[in-house]
Amino acid sequence: MASRLSKAFSDEADHVGYVDAWLDRAATTPSPAQLITLFERTLGALWQRTEVTLGEVTLTAIVDRVLYTASEQYPLLSTLTVERAGISFDGLRTQGAHDTNLREALRLVLVEFLTVLGHLTDEILTPALHAELSRVALEGPGAVEGNDDDAGARS
């Protein structure tokens, strides 16, 4: 069964809409620390999901591009670094936690990540990544809200 999110954004390439809907539902008024944790976990989950298919070298190159592009718009993101296990948020926690653009900046990273991967794979991985995204929202400690319909995303 498709999730409500999936139904709302039948166009798989509409990553912006998907991320916004997910973000609205997952974290209405989180603190900066909660927000960072939420994105750390989310991007970590997406990394795990993608690395299996694409491999570490390719994924590193893609994330490097995503972070580079996002940093041009939000310099605070230059504190994010790509490591073998994924994106490290340590720098951001110490230096950018109070930035007023934190939510938008992290949102951009997620959108860019999904968009670039979508382009490169002709959206082949998109359903799986969207499903992974929904799962994080439901299960993680950073999750704020959820409903039964989201169970479909896990199936």
Binding site: I62, R65, Y68, V116, L120, D122
Partner: protein
């Protein structure tokens, strides 16, 4: 259902190359290696593509390595028409990696490359040459690692990459680079058909149904142009015939072609040198223009000036049709022929003009560099496809080798065209006579066999050996109700009251006995009945005939002047027997003649031709006369002076409805002319022999028949035949 999105493409801007890639260009984000020896055109190809793709939204990053100083690259690049200084400033970024590669090694170079890519975010990245890294790598592993990292980063940035390098064919299996690239394009040059030619081959292109053939290409001031007719020229499905078929407009040729040539057809115009192929193709184009059909002639032999001069010689104002935009002439000198390139040129020119007629003179020269008949066949097929796809009609001339049984240069072209017109010539007497034969024409009931053809003022004139109506069914039987007076006093009562309408009467007799006079009487009688008359004379000139008529008080001259009688002299030196049917038929139609005299049929035959041929021709002539509602009289000279067993020595009896034999008889120890009616079809007739005399008004037949034996020659008398120089041996 999930939608499948085609991989986006980068148009190359190189003519026909996108079609070779099979999908409209290079796949976006792919890494393609352009391999080839120095001077193969790798850099030009890459630069041409880059200039084409460069735009404010599509920037180019061009890395130059050790192979060539950037200054040189820029200087040479400026020579090409694709060079755009404005783009070079704004969208085309050159980076010289020479020093870095030499001093810092591969790892630093990789970082620098990525630095530049991140900064510019280019759509296309070129590394010229990547072979430099091969040379600098300490091991295959190092090269593999470097190449892989660079490619992955290029992929992550969605950059389409072109790597250039002097890689040989053997490296495709040994160099690790070849296993990680998405595409491989090789550029080579080698001798082909006696000259150096460049070839491009897409050996590998992931995710595309690319063509794997080698395709010739040239480098001109416009850049690279790839010729790939196998890829770009396809025969489109041939729909139903909706348009009227093409009539060539060449005199009488269309009679051979029956309904005409189906649109989309191509015909070979085949013959040895000098048989009129060029003239026929030229006239085909010219007549088309006069009929409102645009035409284009591609000449690989004669220059346009020479063709125009030839046209002027025929009386055609070809230059005016060119000015009117109805005709285009394209001359390609033989040494400059590039078959694949000119095939595409012909397609484009024909399409741009909207040509309904396409002539190629000649395909034997156009394809002269090709040694393999199968390749020649393929090229002719492509040419025919061009014609078919534009619904035009093509005339392709081809030289047949002397002394061969082929009907084309390569012996295979005829299998891919829709028709073949064979032109030939034979030596007859002191002249060469031309012939035309529609050897093959698909879906058309064309007239078979060889037909006489002449080329002269006005162009080509074909003389069909027989008309279609003659060939298909016999003429209707003579009606017995209507009889026409012969105009020869005393003759009609002997023939049941006159000549049946549409009948043919053959007068056979000795030289000077009065055959022509009787024929004139027959014609002049018709005039008094308002039946226009036509006299074809094969021996005497019209002036001589009129003088003879004057001497006998016959008003031939007057009726000629009034236009009711026309005398046509058919020179035995100029008119071939194969042309008579057409000439006579056309003249009868023009004058609307009702009576025809054909005086001296023996002269229709020349040289050593068989009597059978003449009989066949006379049969066709008589049948044609009857179909044209003409009552005819034919005269034939005989060497027999006296009545004997042989009635007609040439065996012409079956040809005519009426057979009248004129001979000499001995009367009162002198020779006198006499007539005997041997045959009248559909009538009772008098079988007696009648004397006649020639005097004022012509021949007058005696009222009473001669008595006793009349076939004996008088003893001791000289033969009149020996005094005649006109005695024909066959009659």
């Amino acid at each position: 259902m999930k939608t499948r999105h085609p991989i986006p493409r980068v148009e190359t801007g190189v003519r026909n190359l996108d079609a070779v890639f099979g999908g409209g260009g290079l796949p976006k984000g792919s890494v393609t290696l352009i391999a080839g020896p120095p001077g193969a055109g790798k850099t030009i190809l890459a630069q041409q593509l880059c200039f084409h793709a460069a735009s404010p939204k599509s920037r180019i990053l061009y890395f130059n390595t050790l192979s060539e100083p950037t200054a040189k690259t820029l200087r040479y690049m400026k020579q090409f028409e694709f060079f755009d200084a404005k783009k070079l400033e704004q969208e085309f970024h050159f980076v010289d990696l020479g020093v870095i590669v030499r001093s810092m090694g591969l790892e630093q170079t990789s970082s620098l490359i990525m630095e530049r890519i991140k900064k510019l975010k280019p759509s296309i990245v070129v590394i010229d040459s990547f072979k430099t890294f091969d040379d600098l790598a300490k091991s295959k592993d190092e090269l593999r690692k470097f190449a892989y990292e660079v490619f992955v980063k290029l992929m992550a940035w969605e950059a389409t990459a072109l790597l250039l390098g002097e890689y040989g064919a053997h490296e495709q299996v040994t160099n690790p680079l070849f296993s990680v690239i998405d595409g491989l394009v090789t550029l080579t040059q080698r001798e082909s058909s006696g000259e150096q030619q460049r070839f491009l081959q897409v050996v590998k292109m992931r995710g595309t149904p690319h063509n794997r053939d080698e395709h010739p290409f040239v480098i001109t001031s416009s850049g690279i142009e790839v010729f790939a007719p196998r890829v770009t020229i396809h025969r489109e499905p041939h729909g139903e015939e909706r348009e009227p078929r093409c009539k060539t407009g060449i005199e009488k040729l269309d009679e051979l072609l029956a309904d005409g040539i189906p649109r989309g057809s191509s015909l070979l115009i085949a013959g040895v040198a000098g048989t009129g192929k060029t003239v026929m193709s030229l006239e085909f184009i010219y007549r088309g223009a006069l009929a409102g059909e645009k035409g284009i002639l591609f000449s690989f032999e004669e220059t346009t000036e020479r063709l125009l001069a030839a046209a002027r010689g025929m009386g055609w104002d070809l230059a005016r049709e060119i000015e009117r935009g109805m005709i285009e002439m394209v001359f390609v000198p033989q040494p400059e022929i590039v078959v694949e390139g000119h095939l595409l040129m012909m397609r484009e020119r024909a399409a741009a003009l909207g040509a309904r007629r396409v002539a190629v003179d000649s395909i034997s020269v156009f394809l002269h560099k090709i040694k393999d008949p199968q390749i020649a066949r393929e090229k002719v097929f492509q040419l025919a496809s061009i014609v078919q796809n534009t619904a035009a009609v093509g005339f392709f001339t081809t030289d047949i080798p002397y002394g061969s049984n082929q009907i084309s240069r390569f012996g295979v072209e005829e299998t891919v065209v829709d028709g073949v017109i064979l032109l030939s010539s034979t030596e007859e007497g002191f002249e060469r006579q031309r012939y035309v034969e529609v050897y093959k024409l698909r879906n058309t009931a064309h007239l078979k066999g060889r037909h006489s053809m002449v080329i002269g003022e006005g162009g080509i004139k074909v003389f069909p050996r027989y008309a279609e109506d003659v060939a298909e069914s016999p003429p209707a039987a003579l009606g017995l109700a209507e009889r026409l007076p012969s105009g020869i006093p005393g003759l009609d009562p002997l023939m049941g009251g006159g000549l049946l309408r549409r009948s043919a009467t053959l007068l056979v007799g000795s030289a000077g006995i009065g055959k022509s006079t009787m024929g004139l009487q027959f014609i002049l009688e018709g005039v008094t009945r308002k039946e226009p008359g036509l006299i074809f004379t094969l021996e005497e000139s019209p002036e001589q005939l009129e003088a003879t008529a004057d001497a006998l008080g016959m008003p031939l001259r007057r009726w000629v002047e009034k236009g009711l009688v026309e005398v046509v002299y058919l020179s035995r030196e100029r008119v071939r027997s194969a042309q008579f049917l057409t000439i006579l038929g056309d003249t009868i139609l023009r004058l609307k003649a009702r009576r025809v005299l054909l005086d001296g049929v023996a002269y229709m035959q020349r040289g050593s031709a068989e009597a059978d041929d003449l009989r066949q021709l006379l049969n066709k002539l008589v049948a044609r006369f009857k179909r044209l509602d003409v009552t005819s009289m034919l005269t034939a000279e005989s060497r027999s002076l006296y009545f004997g067993d042989a009635i007609t020595e040439g065996g012409f009896s079956p040809v005519a409805d009426n057979l009248l034999v004129l001979r000499y008889v001995s009367l009162d120890d002198a020779l006198a002319p006499a007539i005997r009616i041997v045959k009248t079809r559909g009538s009772e007739h008098d079988r007696s022999t009648y004397a006649f005399h020639l005097g004022k008004g012509g021949a007058h037949i005696a009222r009473h028949p001669l008595k006793g034996a009349v076939h004996q020659a008088p003893s001791g008398k000289g033969s009149p035949a020996r005094k005649s120089s006109r005695t024909k041996s066959r009659l």
